[in-house]
């Protein structure tokens, strides 16, 4: 009986303590471990340095431009890259090796580089860069222009989308703040 009472008295405190441990433990799992489990980490097929290219005086628009009809060219093709990097350099530096990797695997074979795009929208979203050309690119995109190494690509194991893909509520919030319609057909055709 004594032992039972003791257990009972300590039991409440123990229970609260355990509840606290459970609470904190789950917070750690939810905020630290879960994201790591949910997203796989991938690296770009070619370690492209935006910094070096911008230092050479190449404008962003030279590779990522709006076409005359308003369509966005998005990523440059292998052929565009090969205009400057058509031949292997033989350079043993990390950058030289990366250029040679591009030339060997893509420029010579004509295969398009399977870039991992950080912010592709789902197919049911019609996003026009032409309609958003008044905004700074970094309003929505990672500021890769200042990065020597492309950031890691985090792919959601469940949905398959990038961690950086903009969610619908983010689009809606900006539209609302700008006084732009949030009607379905504005983005979903």
């Amino acid at each position: 009986m004594e032992e039972n009472r003791s257990n009972s008295a300590g039991g409440v405190g123990g229970m609260v303590l355990c509840a606290l441990i459970g609470f904190v433990g789950v917070l750690v799992v939810g905020w630290v471990i879960f994201p790591k489990l949910l997203y796989s980490q991938k690296t770009q097929p070619i370690r492209f340095s935006h910094t070096i290219h911008s230092q050479l005086g190449i404008d962003c628009e030279q590779c990522h431009h709006l076409g005359p009809d308003g369509r966005f060219s998005g990523l440059p093709t292998t052929e565009s890259c090969a205009e400057c990097h058509g031949e292997e350099t033989g350079d043993a530096s990390p950058n030289g090796k990366e250029i040679d990797k591009f030339v060997k695997e893509y420029a010579k074979t004509g295969v398009q580089i399977p870039w991992l795009v950080y912010q592709y929208q789902p197919d049911n979203v019609f996003f026009s860069h032409a309609a958003h050309k008044g905004f700074e690119c970094t309003k929505c995109h990672l500021d890769v222009a200042k990065m020597d190494n492309p950031p890691a690509y985090h792919e959601n194991r469940l949905s398959g989308y990038s961690k950086d893909t903009m969610k619908m509520w983010e689009c809606e919030r900006c539209h609302a703040s700008m006084g732009t319609s949030n009607a379905c057909y504005v983005c979903h055709k």
Binding site: N7, G11, V12, G14, M15, V16, L17, C18, A19, L20, I21, G22, F23, V24, G25, V26, L27, V29, G30, W31, F34, P35, L38, G67, R71, S73, G74, L75, T77, Q112, V117, Y120, P122, D123, N124, N156, L158, S159, G160, Y161
Partner: protein, 717 residues
């Protein structure tokens, strides 16, 4: 300290509460919802560099230039090419399907050989050996059917068959076959071409010019250009025909008349023109005048057609007072018209002095052939395929030992379909060059699949109806999706195996030679900025100096030429008119079946393009039953109600249908959609409705001897 029950419960409760403060449940729910939107079978929007390439449509008989949008090199959509005179940015439902059809379930994926009732895949080497063997044995008794009305491939095929010993080279019946025969009977040279762009008053006799007749996409553009939205129309279009079809619906006036009465109406109008003093120096005018005055006065026409004299007098007045009137005669569904109505319509052009004038009818010269031994276009169009096959079926004509079928589906796309299929069964060796598993291919012994137009080199030369000579290239913009080849290349390879000299090793060489001959033709120019109808109206044609014509054509521009071929006695052919055009009355116990065709339900060679099936309304097809259209007066006379299931009987065949009451059909006529009732192809075409062409009976036109089937009497019960 052990973990007792209470401690465990505390841990779980704390964990559960804590979970609510983490992204775990909310993120999982959201991602799971997204996950359900991405099943593996849902098509993905392709990502990559977007570009546009140009070519021309071959699936669509209108031959419009196309601008294909590609993503990462893969074609995704077909639109009209604004620089092409037959498109001007417009595109038909059929031409638009050129991309989708690359992946049609009906595509033939490799050469096939029939074994029993099924087909087995074979290699191209085996197929060529088999074909060389069988054709070698069939020398002297080989026939060919082609459905390509504009391609130089016909030169390769006709030369090959001719050198093997041809018993006939036939084109599938069309407006072009009728026109060619009628022009020949009038003593005319060249192909009839219609200058809609410069015409201000157009009388359309039967022809569905905005749907299935000739260069329909260009015709629509010409119509639209003269009738800008919100402005006063600068043209006047009058339609005479049995239904208010897609053409009549936009015309200024619709005059109901059955397809068999089109010639009568034309000669009735001629009576008014003659009364008004119209005359002509063309041979046969005096006899023509006597024929018209003798039997086509206002009361004669009213008795035959029910059209009031003042209506035709009004049409005649509109034509006579117009600066640039034009008369176009054709079939309401693109085939089966006799020479009589065509010549009657053309006679109006002669009376109005509209031959070889801006806004009138041009007799266009043929482009020079380049393959030795090839037939001219006029000679190809001269054959009468339904009559030939009917002769074979009945035993009056010996069956050829071998038949080559190119881009044609005679087992489906001809009248008296059952008779035609019977004839095909009698031919011991049949080869199909189809791209899709159509009804004829399914009957053949060997199928050598043709690559689709987006996968091959080909060409479009002056489609029927064009008001000017035209040549544009079809070029491959992607590799063949399946194990298919360009049929012309297969024929050239086969010719070598059989020691038949066709001069060329590849079809690309043939086309390049063709382009070289065009470059030498005087008067030709590239339609770039200045269009041929502007040149016809008097604007100087741009010079073609120093241009690499092949490259220009590859970049989507068209070579064009304005001007007629020299005539040597084109006349009225009045004796033929007197025999072929006669007022006739349909007995009241039957109704006249007049089909209508629409490009959205494809051609006999394509079946219904998969994406276009969704555009077929529920007044045309519900589940597996098609609707026929009658007006309320006809329905009442026949005791039929809306939605009733009926049986149509004609030519010894029955077809099921449902009744759609539609006041845009003239009294006494039942209008039925074509393009349905396939027994082959894929789930988008097979077993959907009935093929009403099978109810159409062939008749021989008096005077010309041509097979005609624009309207057939049917019983409805």
């Amino acid at each position: 300290m052990g973990l007792d029950r209470r401690a465990f419960l505390g841990l779980v409760a704390g964990g559960a509460v804590g979970t609510m403060f983490t992204p775990i449940p909310w993120k999982l729910i959201d991602d799971a919802a997204i996950w359900t939107q991405n099943w593996s079978w849902i098509p993905k929007v392709p990502k990559g560099q977007i570009d546009y390439v140009t070519t021309s449509s071959k699936l669509c008989p209108a031959g419009e230039g196309l601008k294909i949008m590609r993503v990462a090199g893969n074609p995704v959509t077909a639109g009209g090419n604004p620089e092409h005179p037959l498109s001007q940015g417009g595109v038909s439902a059929l031409a638009r399907s050129e991309v989708y059809m690359l992946y049609s379930p009906a595509r033939i994926k490799s050469p096939l050989k029939k074994s029993g009732k099924t087909f087995s895949p074979i290699t191209w080497e085996q197929a060529l050996l088999e074909m060389a063997d069988k054709l070698g044995a069939a020398k002297g008794s080989v026939a060919c059917v082609s459905g390509d009305g504009t391609g130089t491939v016909n030169e390769v095929l006709s030369a090959f068959v001719g050198k093997l010993g041809s018993v006939g080279y036939f084109m599938m019946p069309s407006e072009a076959t009728t026109a060619a025969k009628a022009m020949k009977l009038m003593g005319a040279q060249g192909q009839a071409g219609y200058d809609f762009e410069n015409a201000d008053t157009v009388l359309v006799l039967g022809a569905d010019i905005f749907e299935t007749w000739g260069t329909s996409t260009r015709n629509r553009k010409a119509f639209g250009a003269k009738r800008p939205v919100g402005a006063k129309p600068a043209s006047n279009y009058i339609y005479v025909g049995p239904t208010r079809n897609n053409t009549a619906a936009v015309c200024d006036q619709w005059i109901p008349a059955t397809a068999t009465d089109l010639g009568v109406v034309a000669l009735g109008i001629a009576w008014h023109l003659l009364k008004g003093g119209a005359t002509s120096t063309a041979p046969g005018f005096d006899t023509f005048k006597a024929v018209v005055n003798g039997g086509f006065g206002p009361e004669d026409v009213k008795r035959a057609t029910g059209i009031a004299p003042e209506v035709l007098a009004g049409v005649a007045k509109a034509l006579a007072s117009a600066k640039a009137p034009l008369v176009v005669a054709g079939s309401p569904f693109g085939q089966g018209l006799g020479a009589g109505p065509f010549i009657a319509g053309m006679s109006l052009n002669l009376l109005l002095g509209r031959l070889n004038r801006p806004g009138g009818v041009y007799a266009l010269p043929e482009l020079a052939t380049v393959v030795p031994g090839a037939l001219s276009r006029a000679a190809m169009l001269d054959g009468d395929l339904p009559a030939f096959l009917k002769g074979v079926a009945t035993g009056h004509t010996p069956a050829p030992k071998a038949l080559l079928v190119y881009d044609a589906n005679p087992a489906y796309g001809l009248p008296e379909t059952a008779t035609m299929a019977k004839a095909l069964e009698k031919i011991p060796f049949k080869v199909s060059f189809a791209s899709f598993m159509d009804e004829t291919a399914a009957m053949c012994d060997l199928i050598l699949p043709n690559s689709l137009p987006l996968e091959r080199y080909d060409d479009v030369a002056t489609p029927y109806g064009s008001g000017f000579c035209l040549y544009s290239l079809v070029r491959p913009i992607q590799k063949p999706v399946y194990d298919t080849k360009t049929s012309a290349d297969v024929i050239l390879t086969l010719a070598k195996k059989l020691s038949v000299d066709l001069k060329f090793d590849s079809f690309l060489q043939v086309l390049k030679e063709k382009v070289v001959t065009l470059g030498k033709a005087s008067g030709g120019f590239i339609a770039k900025g200045i269009m041929p109808w502007q040149v016809a109206a008097g604007k100087p044609a741009p010079a073609m100096v120093g241009a690499d014509l092949w490259k220009v054509l590859e970049s989507g521009y068209a070579w064009t030429m304005v001007g007629p071929v020299t005539q040597n006695g084109m006349g009225f052919a009045p004796e033929l008119l007197a025999k072929a055009v006669k007022p006739a009355k349909v007995p009241s116990s039957v109704v006249t079946l007049v089909p209508y065709a629409q490009l959205r339900t494809g051609t006999p060679m394509t079946g219904i393009p998969c994406q276009d099936l969704t555009t077929v309304p529920e007044t045309e097809l519900v589940a597996e039953t098609t609707f026929v259209r009658l007006n309320s007066e006809t329905a009442k006379a026949l005791g039929l109600k809306k939605g009733a299931t009926v049986k149509l009987s004609g030519a010894g065949v029955d077809c099921k249908a449902k009744v759609h009451i539609f006041e845009s059909v003239m009294t006494g006529v039942v209008s039925a959609p074509l393009g349905f009732g396939h027994t082959a192809f894929d789930l988008f075409s097979k077993d959907k409705g009935a093929n009403y062409l099978s109810l159409m009976a062939l008749a021989e036109e008096p005077g010309s001897g041509m097979s005609v089937w624009t309207a057939s009497e049917v019983k409805i019960a």
